[in-house]
Symmetry: D2
Subunit: 493 residues, 4 copies
């Protein structure tokens, strides 16, 4: 059918469904994947207190927005009228008789399957990967324990891993973000999934533990998003690391922790930082924000962009995306920067580089994407004109200095962007699992450029893009392998 | 406060709240103001059957989207739990003891006032007009009967007319679009308003009649949106036209009828076509659609624009806006055209001009904005690739040849655009009301260019735009009046 | 001083190489075709003095830039070493023995033919017109006397007219712009051409007279560029008008004179204003200037556009083109305007609208395209920063208040743009020549929209653009003829 | 002669009209600075033959285009009428009586000074550096031997080095590119310069030798462009390296050689690769080519960009710049790529990614910027449509497979871009000269990011850009030094 079902009144549900603290959640929506600053001094303190502030911490991490733009909200309505029995106390079996899972309601499986199928349409790279690698089963023997958002898109990843030969056990990295019907569909399909929307903190760790601590099954790979799973294994089952071939970590926070472990000499297996691969970064930041800044502002404020004066704080990838989109739609855009190279780029791209105080009185919209804190201060807020819109595209709730401001960026992340991430994760797992002894030490690695290129190549068919191949002669002339990698590591795309 | 309240789950409510025929409503959303084709042969037949198909007709006319993006939905929820007594049977009085109105619930007035105040923020042109013209009361003595959507934005217009000296009686031009709380606020403020959300057809005409047929009060001006009020007066109270100084009509359909009346020699008062003024046209079509195509597609489908192949049928103002926005966001855009001048413009703007059949197999999105019918045919639909998005930005439901397709353009119209329209209407009323005998005959006129320029000038302060004034010497050199008009009538902006 | 001494090269050489009067020529380069449609009060005085100031006047008219960017410069070198005998005193015959012409050197014909052939490549619309209309010879019997720039592009036009059945006699509308080798090629091909580069004023009128005043041949059509030919016929041979079916005039100045004649009741034949046809206007102004502003600035100053602050005075078609190009290349652009509608357009397109004095201190480039005078005043010049570039894209030398400033826009006009103009002229001639009695009165007409559309359609194949055709059903629905015209006359493209 | 191509149409003509050697020169124009960072296997062979093919090699290296668009052309005219005595045989002294130089004609010094002063206007970063560092004289004691193009821009660099305390001896890195009057001005100012336009190969090495082999003066720093100077010292005076603190090399070729020396363990001093600093790369490739592709095509072919179909081979920085500019001017742009990441970027930026053979029949312009060879083959050329323009923006003359094609990119490099390069070189010299023992080993280094940022910061005032400074608190939060560097080394700008 030509028409695709609308994703429902997104923001509204988000607001209505959540308690006051959800503002922090709102903030966090594009925290991890979009922020660019790697070193967060404050986080270190938080890390040392770990896990005592778990509840707060899990709230301040990334939540896959996709959880909010699907049929699950409809499902949630059902849920609310559902019985209030905890899933942990329920006895459920799937149609094959297995009860090796714990989800809200196994009966939602069919509905969840529908959602997974829709997601598959925009994740053809993973489907393609299934086909290309299915014969050789590169993950045969892999026992992967995972802890991520449980969404339709993640389900496509998990089922791809299974198709490539892996066994998987999975929990949620966030107590709110699970799409219950997707979890049900995974359980029905035989995946050992332990997750539901609205877990308590105790539930959260119980689910992780149920994935790790199993009789007769020991994980040899970890896929983590945020570092909680990794942390749990470190604290409770350090021996498991003897069998672990590697950790694949996606989030800024989790990667940060791994680097800290590595510095402290405590990292005992190879880890792959998939957050910083080129393809993923470009999509999470530049391409995604170029669209979501418009979408988020429009959905929440209905502002007309034409002729509006906007100041964008920070001209990294996120800022570049925001500026390009707003300029194209007729806004007059100013930029603030601390880095002279980025400032010069802003100049060459046609933006006046100013200090925030120079334009704060005149602008209609302020957008922060610095990864820094206190970028918009009380003083700035006092000097803004009435009805000026303030929008945080950057890091958690620190950028704007006025208690917990709502992050207005209530946009969605297209499945295609999540496809990039999921494919990157799958390839990282395959690489780590199959790497010959000694290729990776007990350190944190970036995804090899060749695999980064492969992620990109898997997504080109979506655009009907036809790659040119080097002739033998040309490859020799350039001193390159015909199959890549095509660029030196320091290349700036 | 920096943050503006989110407009709630717009599309979803739209879909859920309405019966099957709401698809037609969805279709109609951007019908009148956005379509550019003036002559609709089919409409003529409909006109002759008038008013027997009223219900359907009122559905196929423009509905102000603003009715859907405000507090009124919250209000609607209250409504649904409200008593089901018809407003016609209720006895209500406002705080001054007047009962010269008929609305859903006068108690919602305070809430409605809040909405009107928010709308005023983006309609500073009208506020400015109040201030500039209030001293001289250019509408003193004017008795205006109006029939438009009853929304916060219209309320700002009505109250501006009152501030300029007019007496107003008002009904709704659409049975669904009234914001009840706004109607209540108007009633509380002393405006004789007869409108509520969910009128029956009988209610619809009853309300109009209550505005026109009043003892001791006779209208001398008509402000119409769609022509129903004008029609009613023609049919029922033709004598009223003796006192009428003029009709101001906004909609394509209404203007079309006026031209037909004029051609038939039946138009007995001057009428002003405000639909085709330059400023209004640019905002309704080019500027508004440049933003709403992105917004509408994103809200309904979450499609990522980057790299998508899109064909836009029609390169008029709407098409130009769609193409510019999509190109800027990284889509690859093709154009179809029947008019070689517009086709050449598309070429010069960087778009390949093709026949639809040439690209139908490869595109991800099809957008129609032709004002024509059967642009996308069954045959095209059959050849599209799976999950291709089809989107009608043009005229009602005729552009796409597959029964009643949903118009995906579920975007909102920024208040600023409505401000352009409302200001244009106010100035048209002032002009017609104050025009010296003989300036206007019994014909349909475009807004004088000088007033068109004035509408624009009233909106420049919103952008902090500083107009340059001609010196006496320069004005003489150019043969222009220093205050305009600055361009010949045939000038193409 | 306003003018920045060119940082080497180009302008400097230009200045040195040319006599003082060349400044006026430089000025005039984009005068007529690019200035907006405005009435110039000053010109009227000049008109009354006509033709006493011929020398100056002919300099202040449009000169085809193509004369400056072709082989003719090479030719000029030859010329300078050429004998200094006036062509009027030479006895020359072409290879067929005819001496019905007067050119610099008939021996350059082969070289000129080569230039014409190159021009033909980019003027496929005229070639196509030759093919389509050759069978029916729509100009059979037409005796056209023409006075235009004599360039390769004009030659393609003249030879097209001949191919369609016309007999032509031609002189130059400018004493400097003739490409001698092209004139030679025309003479060799049998066209009665009287023109050379560097005519004296006496030569100028002698050449015109030789075209008009011929035994046994009387013109029935006039093609004029600037009005000198028309003027000459009015003054010297008014009886000729009895046979003239119409005048086709291209220049702003010439059209202005025709309107004055019409107002004064002295226009005794139909005239067609081809200057204001839609297609021509768009190409002369918007599309051409969008490219030439970059080209002209680059060639003369080598300025880097990225990050430069630029103020563009005037946001008509020329201003829109300049602004779009500079914005796209990374400049920060401000706009000044007197017309609020255009000012609002500038806002919506993302440009701050300011008064010149607000930004004059900070900008790197000032571009005038107003058609007005004294736009940049002495006071502005005094406040500019050192090395600010001042560039006149507008009307003659009045825009900048410092004597005769050089128009820096030393760009070229692509042949494709000239093809638009030439095709428009050809169609105007065909229309006027073949119009049935009574279709045109003794007045000035715009080219019928249908022919305007036809000019556009003839140029679409250059872009491989495929026009969509209306079905019978669609045409009926829209109330349109399937072959156009497709838009009402007031349509703003 | 500083050759400027005649405008007008066709490449073919252009090719035929020029002498053979100009092809190579034309080719070389934007060779080094614009080509992507890629290892050229072929060059290695050439390197081994070094210096036997000097003549050819010096032609295939970068030549500062500024030499071609300046007063020097006027000067050349004088030169040509100048005596033909070799400068080596002349006895010249400057006004202070020194004859420690060898230039064409010391009397041109005043003219050259004028050129230097004009260049200084656009190189305010170097002037600023003079001011900031003049007090501390960071190059006091430095004895720099340099071999670069001798142009006005280089002169500003050399005089900056002197102002910072250095003594300099300088020769030309190219036998054609010297601006004689600039060399004279340097000689007059006391710089020991040995260079003139039109050196023989013997002259070339003689000049270098005169810089290196001096009684009582021994260089301790090398600034090289192309590696010839470095090579000469290696071959002839290896002992000099004992005193050399470092080599600063700008060109792709020279850097390549240094990496080869390093690999071979033969590099005996630290070397700094300034070619690959971020700021320089962005300006040489992205920003510069974004403008020069338009300029070059326009100057040489007068092509109108609007509506043209263009294929750009390669989507690195150069390709990105070309594509962005052409798209903005209304061209329809296709991209070919071998690297899937760059291909995906092209998709997201709105370009169809195709194989060259898919579009070769339909495109109007082919632009190569791959750094590869045989990108456009004989077969492609045979299938192009008539008058298709082929333009090499990439590497020497290998990209197009038809003998030595002219690189049509006959644009200029703005002085501002050269200012970036020169400032980078100056800072590299300062860094290497002042680095504490042990900071740099015998290897090739990239410019430290902090200095890269400093180059950028020195150029911000040209744009009136105001950098934001971190507060202490923010710096601590981010774990950054307030003065930078602000980004990790792997950051992709």
């Amino acid at each position: 059918m030509a028409w695709k079902p609308p994703p429902r009144g997104l923001c509204a549900d988000l607001f209505r469904a959540l308690p006051e603290v959800s503002y922090a959640r709102g903030d966090a929506v594009n925290d991890a994947p979009r922020s660019e600053q790697i070193q967060f001094a404050d986080d270190m303190q938080e890390f040392t207190k770990f896990p005592t502030k778990t509840g707060r911490r899990s709230l301040s991490r990334s939540i896959s927005q996709s959880s909010t733009d699907s049929y699950s909200s409809a499902a949630s309505y059902t849920d609310s009228s559902d019985d209030e029995v905890s899933p942990r106390e329920k006895q459920q079996t799937n149609s094959k008789g297995s009860s090796n899972f714990c989800v809200k309601n196994i009966k939602q499986a069919e509905f969840g399957r529908r959602e997974i199928e829709i997601a598959e349409q925009d994740m053809s790279a993973l489907i393609s990967l299934r086909k290309r690698a299915q014969g050789e089963k590169p993950l045969a023997g892999a026992k992967i324990v995972g802890c991520t958002h449980i969404t339709a898109q993640t389900a496509v990843l998990i089922e791809t891993l299974c198709a490539l030969g892996a066994q998987c056990r999975w929990s949620a990295c966030n107590i709110y973000s699970t799409q219950n019907e997707v979890a049900a569909a995974l359980a029905e399909a035989g995946v050992a999934v332990f997750a539901w929307k609205g877990e308590s903190e105790d539930d959260f760790w119980w689910c992780i533990d149920r994935c790790v601590n199993v009789d007769g099954w020991q994980a040899n790979m970890i896929l983590d998003d945020g570092g909680d799973l990794t942390h749990w294994v470190y604290k409770k089952y350090p021996n498991i690391f003897k069998k672990i071939r590697g950790i694949v970590e996606e989030s800024v926070t989790g990667v940060h922790r791994l680097y800290q472990l590595s510095k402290a000499g405590k990292l005992c297996v190879p880890a792959m930082n998939v957050n910083d691969s080129v393809t993923k970064q470009k999509f999470d930041n530049l391409y995604c924000c170029r669209e979501s800044i418009l979408d988020g502002l429009k959905r929440t404020t209905d502002v007309m962009f034409g002729g509006k004066q906007v100041v964008v704080c920070g001209y990294g990838e996120v800022g570049k995306g925001c500026c390009a989109a707003l300029k194209a739609l007729g806004a007059i855009v100013y930029v603030t920067e601390i880095d002279p190279i980025c400032a010069l780029q802003a100049c060459m791209d046609g933006f006046r580089v100013v200090k925030l105080s120079e334009v704060i009185r005149q602008v209609d919209v302020v957008i922060t994407c610095t990864g820094n804190k206190n970028v918009v201060t009380r003083e700035h807020l006092d000097r803004m004109k009435n009805s000026c819109i303030v929008c945080n595209m950057g890091h958690s709730n620190t950028e704007i200095d006025v208690g917990r401001l709502l992050n207005l960026s209530c946009s969605t992340v297209p499945t295609f962007v999540l496809s990039i991430t999921a494919t990157t994760q799958a390839l990282a797992l395959i690489e780590l699992y199959n790497a010959p002894e000694g290729r990776y030490k007990q350190d944190v690695y970036l995804l090899p450029k060749k695999m980064d290129e492969y992620v990109a190549s898997l997504h080109l068919p979506s655009f009907d893009a036809h790659l040119t191949e080097l002739t033998d002669d040309q490859a020799k002339y350039l001193g390159l392998n015909k199959n890549g990698p095509f660029k030196p590591n320091y290349y700036r795309y």
